[in-house]
């Protein structure tokens, strides 16, 4: 192939390189081309004009606000939960372990249906809330609950794996020096695992942001109250195609930022046992 005086590479080596290149190219293009196509289907003017659309901005703000709140709740509740789960053996630990992964395999629409059947005003728990005048379904609270349900496994699994890997020697040493368990957790465990926890948190945020099926089933679709960005994309697909494209592009940009953040933070290693 290349004109040179050195001996040519053996044929099987060339075929291997060609095959490998083809594979890498195919995978990369399959993932990247649809994203690029989004950008080419609209123009910068149309994009900016759509940004001024109140439905687009309300969907953006609602999505960001609910995803952030969902993330904070998952972190505040999930981190101690994962720590206690990892450091202790208790009856039913295996079941809890399996149940944490459940939302990952459950289709989101099914999750939404299940939440509606439980927390809706005709539901097992919801009917009691309804007596007190508390509505759960079709509110922003429902959006947050749906997001927590589908996105929490990402954080919990990551936290579990980090705490499992963390050498208990550090915590035990801190205890012998007189620190309370809570202080050990806050000042020893969390700083050591922070990098991995942040990457888990970022993935959770991305999943919560993109949630569609559970949201539309449980929270409904009301602009400004429950219409998150993915719902707005779907609703606008017919009618205002440009608004749909704009929201899709916004989601792509946010997802891209999330991806970079995950790659940066995931680099930190946990001190192994």
């Amino acid at each position: 192939m290349t004109p040179s005086s050195a001996p040519a590479r053996p044929l099987h080596s060339i075929i291997a390189t060609a095959g490998a290149s083809l594979l890498i190219l195919a995978v990369t293009l399959y993932l990247v081309l649809p994203i690029i196509a989004l950008f080419f289907r609209t123009t910068p003017e149309l994009f900016l004009a759509s940004l001024a659309n109140p439905e687009v901005t309300s969907a953006l703000l609602l999505s960001l606000a609910t995803s952030v709140i969902s993330l904070i709740i998952v972190i505040l509740v999930g981190t101690p939960f994962a720590y206690i789960h990892c450091r202790n053996t208790y009856p039913g630990k295996v079941i809890v372990d399996t149940v944490i992964d459940l939302p990952l395999v459950l289709p989101p629409a099914v999750a939404g249906m299940a939440l509606l059947v439980l927390y809706g005003r005709a539901g097992f728990i919801g009917q009691y809330a309804n007596i007190f005048g508390i509505s759960i379904a079709f509110t922003t609270l429902a959006v947050i609950m749906a997001q927590i349900f589908v996105a929490s496994p990402f954080y919990l699994r990551q936290a579990k794996s980090l705490f499992d890997q963390l050498d208990p020697a550090y915590e035990l040493t801190a205890r012998t020096l007189g620190a309370s368990p809570a202080r050990v957790f806050a000042t020893v465990v969390v700083p050591l695992t922070a990098g991995g926890l942040i990457s888990g948190a970022v993935m959770t945020f991305g999943r919560a942001l993109g949630e569609f099926g559970a949201t539309i089933m449980f929270a409904g679709n009301l602009p400004g109250v429950t219409q998150t960005m993915p719902l707005a994309v779907y609703v606008n697909m017919a009618g205002d195609f440009n608004a749909g494209l704009t929201i899709s592009i916004l989601l792509v940009l946010i997802s891209f930022a999330i991806m970079i953040a995950v790659r940066y933070y995931a680099k930190t290693e946990v001190p192994h046992a």
């Binding site: 192939m1 290349t2 040179s4 050195a6 590479r9 060339i14 390189t17 060609a18 290149s21 083809l22 190219l25 195919a26 293009l29 289709p107 989101p108 629409a109 509606l116 059947v117 809706g120 005003r121 005709a122 509505s135 379904a137 079709f138 569609f212 099926g213 539309i216 409904g220 679709n221 009301l222 602009p223 429950t226 779907y234 609703v235 606008n236 697909m237 017919a238 009618g239 195609f241």
Partner: protein, 317 residues
């Protein structure tokens, strides 16, 4: 040595790219029987596969089945050749089972598969390349849109059936709604379809008519305030009402008539204020089996097909 390796890698990548582009260009456009793209996840899509009769080669008494013009011609008739793919407005979900049976009864050996979704979603799919043989639209707006986009075969666009809007209530009627005026009571939860959905268009029109003729703008505003969700298809509205999660929902009369006794209560909208939705049926210009599609359309427009629709609460065309 490394420099030569470097050159070799670049040549491999470029040739791989060219090969892939050639393959992509070659694959698209030859086969007319492309995969049906389903609706995006999250919306309830019902695909109904009619009872396919066993392989009968020479017993088709009606119009001959045309073999689709594919790159690899099929030598003998198989039931799959007669499967018509019908992109259908979601409000026909309840009737789809009987319609498929009736079609197979009229044209033995044939079958139909329904892709049921909001007409607006189906329109967008078709405009972006989805394959269908027949399109049943619940709204003149989308029929016009597709006609001007030349998606239909000329002369096949026919009125299929009509439908009025009605307000349904959960069986227990938790909010105690007895009239349309009650819909404006504070605290009432209403479900309706989004304004891009055909039944949503009809709902908005009916509410507007009711406001200007009888109940006033304040009533209109209250109804809008009481709306807790704008669903993306008509059956979703009915589901929310059936579950008792909302106090009222705007759906088609057909949904209320065809439901099992005791599922809903209802409040009718006077005909003078109501919006008569007109459904159309048409053969797709991109269909690979136009004669089978025309046969299906003929069935839907025939007495047999119309009877099924009437039994499910639709009105005559």
């Amino acid at each position: 040595m490394t420099e030569r390796k470097h050159h070799l890698s670049i040549i491999c990548i470029v040739s791989a790219f060219l090969i892939m582009t050639a393959l992509l260009a070659g694959c698209t456009g030859t086969s007319s029987e492309q995969k049906v793209t389903g609706a995006p996840t999250g919306t309830p899509v019902v695909m109904y596969e009619a009872v396919t009769t066993p392989l009968r080669v020479a017993e088709v008494t009606t119009a001959p089945v045309t073999a689709p013009a594919t790159a690899t011609p099929k030598p003998e008739y198989t039931p799959a050749d007669g499967t018509v793919i019908a992109y259908t407005a979601a409000s026909l979900k309840g009737a789809s089972g009987k319609l498929a049976e009736g079609y197979a009864a009229m044209y033995p050996g044939r079958s139909v598969v329904f892709n049921l979704d909001g007409t607006q979603a189906l329109t967008t799919q078709v405009e972006n390349g989805a394959y269908a043989d027949v399109f049943i639209s619940a709204s003149p707006k989308y029929t016009k849109q597709l006609t001007s986009g030349k998606y239909f075969v000329d002369g096949t666009v026919k009125t299929l059936t009509t439908n009025y809007v009605i307000v349904i209530l959960p069986a227990k009627n938790p909010a105690g709604i007895t009239s349309l005026a009650d819909l404006a009571k504070p605290g009432v939860k209403i479900a309706r379809a989004a304004s891009t959905v055909p039944v949503g268009i009809a709902t908005d029109a009916a509410i507007g008519n009711l406001a200007s003729s009888t109940y006033g703008q304040a009533w209109n505003d209250s109804v809008n305030r009481n709306t807790v969700t704008y669903e993306t298809s008509e059956p979703s509205v009915a589901t929310k009402v059936a579950l008792g999660e909302v106090d009222a929902g705007f759906v088609y009369e057909s949904t209320s008539t065809a439901a099992k006794t005791g599922t809903y209560q209802s409040v009718t909208i006077p005909k003078s204020d109501n919006y008569l939705q007109t459904y159309s049926i048409a053969v797709m210009s991109g269909s690979g089996k136009k004669s089978a599609a025309k046969d299906f359309e003929n069935y839907m427009l025939s007495d047999a097909g119309q009877q099924v629709l009437l039994s499910y609460g639709f009105r005559p065309a």
